[in-house]
């Protein structure tokens, strides 16, 4: 008589075949593209799920439980790997309930924590216990992936005993292990030991990030230091060092933090974030040379083609990135884009006097912005200053390096793009001190118009400087005059006459605009005055310089030249008074970058 094979035998065989197929697909995964992996994973998970439905189609049975839990484990690993967390969680819940049924317990609860405790207790010392623990591993992974760290904390006790049993049980040569290896236990997609190791370090990292976020740096530091000794991939070990560094930086220990970042880079050379954080530390320490060096390295590292993840002996289906998705962590691990790094580098070089270098970087940046495809640039532009500002900064840097012709070309570019858009009349509201919040008179377009005007004016100003640099005083006067003509288009209005639209952040911006405007007025007038002085038109010079001092009294250059003109006009007492007054002024104001040079 024909005897069909027993269900258990058949299903075990099916499970093992599936696992082997999965492993083969993953092992061959080195060359295979990401989407192929995804589709094979999808296939695996649907096959496992089908098998599981078959197994769970009959009432829970002691003989089948071990296989059933193994298949639940496999299915859940596949689901989790595809970020189908709710499906996986549901399966786990059902599995635990069925374990309870098999062992003759009943827990009428929907609270997963209570359910797990009951499940673990009922599995007790039976053969099912390790399998229930494996499932708990997955629950752990799910909680971690969903950033529910408090649940993990709740089951801390169970988790640590889990780690001991799962990890330390391996390879200790005990008789139970030998028996386990021989017996035909169902195969698993991912070794529970590896999973536990992954979970341990990922939990430490996630918790560390969370604590760091909450300001408990020292607590986080000790945990992370301990975690750095855990077995894990290079990238994860590097993360522990990186976060330790962040903790130390938080605790105001920049040198130790640097050591940690260095360790992170030594551990994993792909840890760009460590480089970025080191740069921030150098910036904080005021070590400009180091900062520039770090920026340069960071930029060249970011420009490298993305390194492919090294192929381990059998890729694990669960990737660390899946488990490390918390907000606070991704904030800590974020690195700006290559272009914005390049911009910071260029700016830093110029500000720290390495102008030639800075000019090169500016040119590289502009070239990259022009050459790169529009899509990538659009994403970048939001973090970079606007194009005209970049042009102005680059142009000013060029003027620093005595390339006035190039500088003028840049300024012309700015003028040609902005001048047409400059309105005939701009009303800028003067924010009153003490009353913030509602000083807002212009729409977004209006704001843009102010920016346009300021850019065009700045371009003229810089062009004027170029001509002054070439000692072409007449041309200089012309350009300064253009600048002044643009600037006087802005009408300052008292806020009382304006419609009131509250917007706090805009107020700040407006204050800045106003400051820039005044400063530019002062500078352009002063420089026209100086140019007049050079052409011996002392009267005009005196008028301009005095106007300049009115508009922007902090500019010492205007005061000094004013004294000079007065002296030349023979008004020596006034001259002396003017000089005295100028010297008494302290100049600590930070001027807009393209105006700082004079």
């Amino acid at each position: 008589m024909y005897q069909p094979p027993s269900l258990l035998e058949k299903w075990s065989q099916e499970n093992n075949e599936l696992v082997n197929k999965c492993k083969q697909q993953e092992a061959g995964g080195g060359a295979v593209s990401q989407d192929h992996r995804q589709s094979s994973l999808r296939w695996c998970s649907s096959e496992f799920h089908k098998l599981l439905r078959k197994i769970q189609g009959i009432p829970p049975h002691v003989d089948h439980s071990q296989l059933e839990l193994a298949v639940v484990y496999n299915t859940c690993v596949c689901f989790t790997a595809q970020s189908q967390f709710s499906e996986a969680e549901l399966l786990l819940k059902e599995a635990t309930e069925r374990v309870l049924q098999v062992t003759g317990n009943n827990a009428d609860t929907s609270d997963p924590l209570v359910l797990w405790r009951a499940g673990l207790k009922s599995a007790g010392n039976t053969a099912l216990h390790p399998h229930v623990l494996y499932l708990l591993c997955l629950q752990w992974a799910l909680w971690l992936a969903k950033c529910q760290l408090e649940n993990i904390g709740e089951l801390q006790e169970q988790m640590s005993s889990l780690c001991e049993i799962v990890c330390d049980g391996v390879g200790d040569g005990s008789p139970s292990e030998a028996k386990g290896r021989l017996s035909k236990s169902p195969l698993l997609v991912m070794e529970p030991k590896r999973l536990t190791e992954l979970l341990q370090i990922c939990t430490s990292i996630a918790q560390g990030a969370e604590k760091l976020n909450e300001g408990r740096s020292s607590e986080a530091l000790s945990d992370l230091q301990a975690a750095s000794a855990l077995p894990a991939t290079r990238a994860l070990v590097a993360y522990t060092h990186l976060l330790s560094g962040s903790c130390l930086a938080h605790m105001n220990r920049p040198q130790m933090a640097l050591q940690c970042y260095k360790k992170a880079l030594e551990t994993d050379s792909r840890c760009v974030c460590a480089l970025y954080r080191s740069m921030l530390i150098y910036r904080q320490l005021g070590n400009t040379q180091a900062e520039i060096q770090a920026l340069r390295l960071l930029h060249s590292t970011l420009m490298l083609p993305p390194a492919t993840e090294p192929v381990l002996g059998g890729i694990q289906p669960l990737s660390p990135s899946l488990l490390l998705s918390s907000q606070s962590l991704s904030r800590l691990l974020s690195v700006p884009s290559a272009l914005s790094v390049l911009y910071s580098l260029a700016l830093k070089c110029v500000l720290s006097g390495r102008v030639t270098e800075g000019v090169e970087h500016y040119l590289d940046l502009l070239a990259a912005l022009h050459s790169e495809d529009q899509h990538a640039v659009d994403a970048e532009v939001s973090v970079l200053p606007r194009m005209p500002e970049l042009y102005l900064e680059a142009g000013t840097a060029l003027l620093f390096t005595r390339r006035p012709a190039d500088c003028m070309a840049f300024c012309n570019e700015v003028i040609s793009t902005t001048l047409e858009l400059v309105p005939e009349k701009v009303v800028l509201e003067e924010p009153e001190e003490g009353i913030g919040g509602d000083a807002r008179g212009l729409s977004v377009e209006g704001e843009d118009k102010v920016a346009m005007l300021l850019w065009a004016a700045a371009a003229y100003l810089v062009q004027g400087h170029c001509h002054a640099h070439l000692k072409d005083w007449k041309q200089a006067v012309t350009h300064y005059t253009r600048c002044i003509n643009l600037l006087v288009k802005v009408h300052l209005k008292n806020r009382d006459f304006q419609p009131q639209i509250p917007a706090a952040d805009v107020n700040v911006k407006h204050g800045k605009d106003l400051c820039t405007l005044q400063r530019m007025k002062g500078l352009s007038l002063a420089w026209r005055g100086i140019s007049f002085t050079q052409m011996d038109q002392l009267r005009e010079a005196l008028r301009d310089l005095q106007l300049s001092l009115q508009a922007f009294p902090d500019y010492t250059g205007a005061g000094l030249w004013c004294g000079e003109v007065l002296w030349r006009l023979g008004r020596k007492h006034e001259a002396a008074a003017c000089w005295e007054k100028t010297w008494s002024l302290t100049t600590q104001t930070s001027v807009e970058r393209y105006l700082i040079l004079w």
């Binding site: 078959k54 189609g57 590292t301």
Partner: protein, 852 residues
């Protein structure tokens, strides 16, 4: 008014079946008539579908009087279209019950509707009870029902009501699509002697009993609600069949020969019936109807849900359109003479609905698999296109940056500008801002350099011996002067001369261990190294390279030397006393491999052979004890046991706490006299094992194993299970491999430093002489005002000029130069030797590595 409402009610929800493309409804009704013998009447109405009008039209109707008795109550139990075994044709059957007034007996009759639209009685039987639960009208026609744990049936052939002779705890009733032996009952029978139950099948026609697990695995019997046999075949008397079963836990399961092939989660509870719909070339559907009017259809091929409906009064499968394939008729609102609301569909293009203006069939994503496949294909094409694009873009950016750099270099060349290369670009490195100052080491270095060589004898602190398994270990602990390190240390054993004229040397194997200084407690020591020679730091060695396990850590100048020898020659010679001699070379220079210094021999003392002096008793008893005895035991054990060193390297996955893992093994104890060693004594003294794990980085380390070979292999086997998969284990030949390369590095460094020093010494001496001469010649600066002063100044200037010219191409003394060359060649010889040693070790490392 009352009458009309009553009759309306009567006509509602009649019993309906489908037969030959028509749908027939049955209902009971009081026979009209005002006379006394008013009885009950069974009426039927046959409807056929009219495509044009999109409605069902009456094809035939009729009535039959069931009971003439006035008070008798007549009800329809069930109706179904089944095969009549005698006529060999399907016929609509309807089972009616007549309840007598006293309710003591129930008369059932099965009527069939003949082709001439007449209701004919087929089977009539009386029961003392009313049927409850499921009643089946099966092929034959057979009526089958359950009562009080028994399964009863009747048919025209059976002649009366019969009972299945097996007592089932659960049972499933089905029909096989075969000519003979069609109706079967499956059930679980409790075996009296065992606690388990077995699946039995029973054919109603011939009473044959068979193994039910060929149809349904036994675990499924108790949960199966209804069953449909899709195909069945008898091959050599063996039944093979495909079965679909709906279970109580909302699952539709497909079995092939009793093996689960596929499952599908059902959306509703309590399945009642499964029908198969053959839609022709589109494949087949299973239509599962549920309690409370739910219907779910599932594709047979993919076993995925095709469509769902709710509030369905009845579902029928037949060829209502007469097109050759099956359709489903879903009735939503029913009256006996008309269908008010219905839907005819096969989900493959045919769809006729009536009375459902808004209710388009609520199809859940229909053949979702097909869409999914198409989507998948499109998605993967898109993905691959995107990856190609990204690769191209990446290539372009790389090329562009290369171009940009080249152009920059070119413009630099053209404009004769010095190309600006940054520090890290020159080095081709990614540099971190590493600011370590090396200045503070210099003072220390100088001090080491200037220590004068004073020779002094090493002091013998202790002499001991142990015997074990036919071997004897003799050990000596000596203290040497830090300034006069000893090299090439070994022990030899001489038999007592006694009456003989000459003492005989016994062959021995010597090993040297470095111990921590005598005064300090045995904390971290350098005893992980076993090299028999010592290398003091060369002057240029940076303090950065200091580490606790350095072989050259000469702060600890206590040395233990052991010698192992076989016991037999000693016993043969009959001597129980022997002399222990220490051989060594004392030299201030560690690199004098080829030096002419002769080895010194020192007599350490005598040992009286004591076979009772067994090894490692103390150590095994109390490894946590710190005592000389234990230390001696430990050293003897190290000398006796075979020794392997493994380099474990896991480039991508950190190793974790290996030491902790070893300590958790059974019988593992820390040895307090040398805490970095772990004693593993799991199974008796013959299987002793000493382990020392030295972690170099989180990703690599060295494992020293002292044990028998078998033990070592067993240990490595279990270690491999613990280690990451991507890790490699390579055996090193002793510790020599690493020592040799270190030695080589030190030798090269030494060579470089001495060359620099000698050369500068040569030039400096010359310079100093001249300086002296100059100082004596012109003590005071000449007065530039006078003529002589001016002359002198001029002469001085001339001399200075000459001197600086000389400096550019200096002349040196031949003798001094010779001396320099001589010493340099000596040093180079040492370097060559170290290189040779290094080469000898390194290929061994490469070849014999095995991977975990």
């Amino acid at each position: 008014m009352m009458e009309s409402v009553l009759s309306e009610d009567l006509y509602r929800n009649p019993h309906r079946l489908s037969h030959c493309g028509k749908t027939i409804s049955f209902n009971c009704k009081r026979a009209p008539g005002t006379n006394d013998n008013e009885g009950s009447e069974l009426i039927f109405c046959s409807l056929s579908f009219e495509r044009e009008g999109n409605t069902f039209l009456k094809a035939a109707d009729g009535a039959a009087v069931i009971s003439r008795k006035r008070l008798a109550h007549v009800d329809i139990v069930k109706c179904k279209s089944v095969t009549d075994a005698q006529k060999r044709a399907t016929a609509p059957c309807v089972l009616v019950i007549k309840k007598s007034e006293k309710r003591s007996s129930f008369q059932y009759s099965l009527l069939t509707l003949s082709s001439s639209n007449r209701l004919e009685p087929c089977v009539e039987f009386k029961l003392p009870y009313q049927m409850k639960g499921a009643v089946y009208i099966l092929q034959g026609p057979t009526v089958l029902w359950r009562h009080e744990g028994g399964v009863l049936y009747t048919s025209p052939q059976a002649e009366g009501v019969r009972q299945v002779p097996i007592h089932f705890s659960h049972c499933v009733v089905g029909e096989l699509p075969l000519h003979k032996g069609q109706v079967f009952v499956l059930g679980l029978q409790k075996l009296p002697e065992e606690s388990t139950s077995q699946t039995l099948g029973y054919f109603v026609e011939d009473g044959q009993v068979f193994d039910g697990s060929v149809i349904l695995p036994h675990l499924y019997i108790s949960i199966t609600q209804c069953i449909l046999v899709v195909a069945a075949d008898r091959v050599d008397g063996v039944l093979k069949c495909d079965v679909v079963a709906a279970t109580s836990n909302r699952l539709l399961v497909y079995f092939e020969n009793g093996v689960v092939k596929d499952v599908c989660q059902l959306p509703f509870e309590q399945p009642e019936n499964i029908q198969v719909v053959n839609t022709g070339r589109y494949g087949s559907l299973f239509a599962v109807s549920f309690c409370e009017g739910h219907v779910c259809t599932i594709w047979k091929e993919t076993f995925q849900i095709a469509a769902l409906w709710s509030s369905v009064t009845s579902i029928h499968v037949d060829d209502f359109l007469g097109c050759g394939t099956d359709q489903m008729l879903l009735v939503f609102k029913d009256r006996i003479i008309a269908l008010e609301e219905f839907l005819i569909t096969d989900l493959c293009g045919i769809s006729f609905s009536h009375g459902q203006d808004t209710d388009a069939p609520k199809t859940s994503p229909p053949p979702s698999e097909n869409y999914l496949l198409t989507l998948k294909a499109l998605e993967s094409r898109l993905q691959s296109g995107l990856t190609v694009l990204q690769e191209l873009q990446r290539e372009v950016t790389v090329k562009e940056s290369v171009l940009r750099q080249s152009v920059k270099a070119l413009t630099d060349v053209v404009s004769e500008r010095e190309p600006v290369l940054t520090q890290h670009e020159q080095e081709g490195l990614i540099a971190l801002w590493d600011s370590d100052d090396e200045s503070k080491n210099e003072a220390l270095d100088d001090k080491i350099h200037d220590i004068p060589a004073v020779s002094s004898k090493p002091r013998i602190d202790k002499l001991w011996h142990r015997t074990t398994e036919g071997r004897m270990v003799v050990g000596v602990i000596l203290t040497t002067d830090r300034s006069a390190p000893v090299t090439n240390v070994s022990l030899s054993i001489l038999t007592d001369a006694g009456q003989c004229s000459r003492p005989a040397v016994i062959q021995t194997q010597s090993q040297v261990f470095w111990l921590p200084a005598a005064c300090s407690s045995p904390s971290s020591s350098s005893s992980s190294s076993f090299s028999a020679s010592t290398f003091p730091e060369p002057p240029a060695k940076k303090s950065k390279q200091h580490n606790a396990i350095s072989t050259n850590d000469l702060n600890a100048c206590r040395v233990a030397v052991t010698a192992v020898t076989k016991l037999t020659p000693l016993l043969n010679s009959g001597r129980v006393k022997c002399h222990v001699m220490l051989h060594y070379i004392q030299t201030p220079d560690a690199f004098s491999f080829m030096s002419n210094q002769r080895p010194v021999v020192l007599h350490c003392g005598q040992v009286a052979l004591d076979i009772q002096n067994n090894l490692h008793t103390e150590l095994l008893k109390t490894p946590q004890l710190i005592a000389d005895e234990v230390r001696e035991d430990f050293l003897s054990l190290l000398a006796v046991l075979d020794h392997w060193v493994f380099h474990i390297d896991s480039p991508e996955y950190s190793l974790g706490d290996i030491n902790g893992w070893i300590q958790k093994r059974v019988g593992c104890k820390k040895i307090e006299v040398s805490p970095q060693y772990l004693l593993l004594n799991s199974s008796g003294p013959s299987a002793l094992m000493l382990l020392n794990w030295h972690q170099i980085t989180p990703f690599q380390g060295e494992l020293h194993v002292h044990s028998s070979q078998l033990q070592m292999f067993q240990f490595l086997d279990s270690l491999l299970a613990y280690l990451p998969e991507s890790c490699s284990i390579q055996p090193l030949k002793g510790a020599g491999g690493k020592g040799a390369s270190k030695m080589f590095a030190l030798a090269l460094e030494k060579e470089l430093v001495s060359l620099r020093e000698y050369a500068s010494l040569l030039l400096c001496e010359e310079d100093e002489e001249k300086l002296k001469e100059k100082c004596f010649g012109y003590k005071e600066t000449p007065d530039a005002g006078s003529v002589e002063g001016l002359q002198k100044c001029r002469a001085m200037c001339q001399r200075d000029l000459e001197r600086s010219n000389m400096k550019l191409s200096p002349l040196v003394d031949v003798g001094q130069y010779r001396r320099l060359i001589q010493s340099m060649s000596k040093i180079q010889l040492n370097g060559d030797l170290a290189a040779l040693l290094d080469i000898q070790f390194s290929p061994l490392m490469c070849c014999s590595g095995f991977h975990g």
